[in-house]
């Protein structure tokens, strides 16, 4: 037991910071309805600014901390409140897109300014140790713990005593109370975002000495707060804080017990998501998940092109695609890459835009597809078969996370997939059945020598990717023309009506999820074969975020054109602009994803007018007739 105590103490100190971050997350989620995937990015901004003031500009750390907590935190809170207000009317997928955009934006800017590698973040709290009850505790740990408990306590007090606080607590318990409390909803929301953002900044500064300064790491670390928030069921503030403590202790105990079992040590960052999964599994399912979501606005018209124009446009595009190798020469490789990306975007678009389900682990699916293809090819399986089987392997894997999440609301699926992506990357990427210790696996290109083509050339592989993309388009359009397509469209308009007429809503969601996972897995085989070697670094969970952000740039329809456009933006354009640093693309993708989310669903006014008309009509007919019940 005594040997465990130091780990428990360290865990409590670290966990109290997770708890703080989680409190901020829950307060903003409940008051604005926006689940902020950018919460960790805000923490990173705080840590970088603190670093800049203290280490680069040599300010005393208490001054730097005060500036961060009293100026930066509230400022970022106000900015985020404005963003959240702009996102209020858009669909759930777009809310996720926008906050993911924030992550990309922050990661790009910090990496551009401070470099991509992790910076040393010297501890600023005193490191002397004291012995308490036989355990050596560092002053930093003690101060962190005391600080967190004081702040959490102050927060609880605020919620009990002040008017805005009481209103906020009411709204956290039941968001429908917003506006009924006598305190302006805008004030409640703004206060919540200021609190949430300041807590994020504080947790970033407190965590950075433990992790080093690195946006991705910090984003991931504050992601621990997701697990904590899950323990509090995204509602209970005390349970959320306790959840943070629990996760902190759990992670430190994992370190203690891992010893020579390496995968246990690797499991550490995945722990919060294991917690999240358990919570999902134990949660009582909603009768119909997301029944109350805003309905999709009525699009003004369908395709303005006549069928003849469409046919000739498609033919022209096909001709260009076929002669492209002779037009672009050696750059054809990046076009092949663009087509593979376009196939992935088809898969992701099918899932997100038709069924409203957000996947934040598509890069993980692609990675599994790539490594499975590599292993199958190594075992002598024919190329096409290997790619198809790789697609099939991903399906059950995808369903494992989708099934528990789907019973609850859509945001849980986004969370669960993010967690799954992180889990996959940290626990399984470097294992022999995936990329192996070196993080690389050979995925040879097909040997199509029987066609009389040079099998190894970039050009012939470009044609392979073209055919694959066309086949994938065929699958997507096929699915949408079937009954499933109609059910999906209906699901987007009114899940409630669909279910009360006997349709199996979750089965519809699972089917489209399965098709999407299959396409992502098969695309994985192609992506591995692009360069002949698949390396784990290309499929990080961060790539999943980028995929979603780029997907959102080209509207909310699934189709060949938006998928190709997204593929070009992600894979072709950067290859032509080699003088521009990669971070700029991350920044542009992030910023445009935020803008795309804000301007989406523009025909909202139409929907409101329909609702308003109906409400007026309801009022007109309901009151006077009641008097007529008892007729003379």
């Amino acid at each position: 037991m005594n040997s465990l105590l130091p780990f428990i103490v360290a865990g409590i100190a670290q966990g109290s910071v997770f708890g703080l971050a989680a409190l901020g997350l829950v307060v903003t989620y409940k008051t604005s309805g926006i689940f902020n995937f950018g919460h960790g990015a805000v923490a990173a901004v705080g840590a970088y600014v603190f670093y800049d003031l203290r280490t680069i500009h040599h300010w005393p750390w208490p001054v730097a901390a005060a500036v961060c907590l009293l100026v930066l935190g509230p400022l970022l809170g106000v900015v985020q409140e404005r963003l959240a207000a702009g996102l209020a009317p858009v669909r759930l997928a777009m809310k996720v897109v926008a906050t993911v955009g924030v992550v990309l934006l922050v990661a790009g800017i910090t990496s551009l300014h401070y470099g991509a590698s992790s910076l040393d973040f010297p501890p600023f709290l005193p490191q002397d140790t004291v012995t308490l009850l036989g355990v050596r505790v560092s002053a930093a740990q003690l101060i962190t713990l005391v600080l967190s408990v004081v702040v959490a306590g102050a927060l609880f007090l605020l919620f009990r005593v002040t008017k805005v606080g009481v209103a906020m607590r009411g709204v956290v318990d039941d968001p429908t109370l917003m506006g009924l409390t006598g305190v302006s909803p805008v004030n409640v929301r703004r206060s919540a975002w200021i609190i949430g953002s300041t807590l994020a900044v504080a947790s970033g500064i407190l965590l950075a000495p433990l992790t080093g300064l690195d946006t991705i790491q910090l984003t991931l670390l504050v992601v621990q707060s997701f697990g904590a928030a899950a323990i509090g069921r995204f509602t209970s503030l005390p349970l959320t804080f306790a959840g943070g403590l629990l996760i902190g202790v759990g992670e430190n105990l994992l370190v203690r017990f891992s010893g020579d079992i390496t995968w246990l040590a690797l499991a550490q960052p995945a722990l919060p998501f294991v917690v999240l999964f358990v919570v999902l599994l134990l949660s009582k399912p909603a009768v119909i998940a997301d029944a109350g979501r805003l309905r999709r606005a009525v699009a003004p018209s369908r395709t303005p092109l006549s069928p003849a124009t469409r046919r000739s446009a498609m033919l022209a595009a096909l001709v260009v695609a076929v002669v492209l190798p002779s037009l672009v020469g050696v750059r054809i490789q990046s076009f092949a890459s663009g087509l593979v990306s376009a196939t992935i975007f088809l898969s992701l678009g099918l899932l997100v835009w038709t069924s409203g389900q957000v996947s934040l682990c598509h890069a993980g699916f692609v990675a599994v597809g790539a490594t499975t293809t590599g292993h199958l090819l190594g075992a002598g399986v024919p190329w096409v078969l290997a790619v198809l089987v790789a697609g099939l392997v991903v399906v059950p894997l995808g369903l494992v996370i989708a099934v528990p999440a789907m019973r609850l609301s859509g945001i849980y699926l986004a969370l669960a997939t993010l967690g799954f992506g992180v889990l996959l990357q940290y626990l399984f990427y470097n294992r022999p059945f995936m990329f192996g210790q070196l993080g690389q696996i050979a995925v040879p290109r097909p040997r199509a020598s029987w066609l009389g083509i040079d099998p190894s050339s970039d050009t012939s592989f470009y044609y392979v990717t073209l055919v694959a993309f066309l086949l994938a388009s065929g699958v997507v359009y096929g699915v949408l023309r079937l009954r499933l397509g109609r059910l999906l469209q209906a699901l987007a308009d009114s899940p409630l009506a669909l279910a009360t007429h006997g349709a199996p809503v979750n089965r519809i969601r699972l089917l489209v999820y399965g098709v999407s996972a299959f396409l992502a897995g098969a695309a994985g085989g192609l992506s591995g074969a692009l360069s002949g070697t698949a390396s784990s670094a290309a499929y990080s969970y961060f790539s999943s975020l980028t995929l979603l952000a780029v997907l959102a740039l080209y509207g909310t329809k699934v189709g060949v054109v938006p998928a190709l456009a997204a593929g070009v933006a992600l894979s072709v354009v950067p290859s032509y602009l080699t003088s521009i640093r990669g971070e700029w693309f991350t920044i542009v993708f992030g910023a445009s994803a935020i803008v795309a989310a804000l301007v989406s669903d523009r025909s909202l006014s139409l929907r409101l007018s329909v609702g308003a008309r109906q409400r007026l009509a309801d009022r007109r007919t309901s009151s006077p007739t009641r008097a007529r019940l008892v007729q003379p």
């Binding site: 009768v287 009506a497 007429h501 349709a503 089917l511 309801d618 009641r626």
Partner: protein, 255 residues
Amino acid sequence: MTALELEQVTVRFGSVVAVDALSLSAAEGQITALIGPNGAGKTTTFNACSGLLRPASGRVTLLGEDVSDLGPAARARKGLGRTFQRLELFDSMTVDENVGLGLESGLAGQSWLRCLTGNRKEAVRVAEAVEESLHTCDITDLAGRRAGELSTGQRRLVELARALAGGFPVLLLDEPSSGLDHEETTRFGQILRSVVTGGRSILLVEHDMDLVLSVCDYLHVLDFGVHVFEGTPAEVQASPVVRAAYLGEEVSESA
């Protein structure tokens, strides 16, 4: 046999009892109305019937079968259809697609394969059901229009047609006439009569008393979640209990 029966159904929202030990039944082949002032618990009762809410206690029996433990889709497949006070149409789709989905939803519930695609026989069935229900509701001319661009009155009829196409023997209609003008309401009543003449049963929540008194066979009156009266239209009109429930409401309104 009764079409739909509630026994001692209680629904709570936190500490508020929205529906208190409610028992009522809707007879087969009749139009039964559920009336009461705003907030009496009518829509809550409907939600408990269709499985959108799980009551704290009580039993729901549909066509002689206990469906208390089933979800909304399963109850629909057992024969219970419904419409919504706040219209729930597939706004981005055409009227005939909307109505067709009334039947296709249930067909999709049969198996994984049927969820993915239908066979030729089903396609014929759906086409026939669409034609018949559009005809019954007299909206055949709207078939190709988008549901989202129609007037409230037309949308009410589309929602009814969709429920009819589903072939549900028991229908719950939640304030189907709200948003309709006088003429539309009269026509709506005629359509409802023709539906029950065809052998179906309807449970109706409605504020328009002209409509209720002219088309219903039997009425249940709710007030504050409690069943206060039941009887024929004539009995309800004469009842002092009902008068009290409604007059109290009226006084506060005129104040």
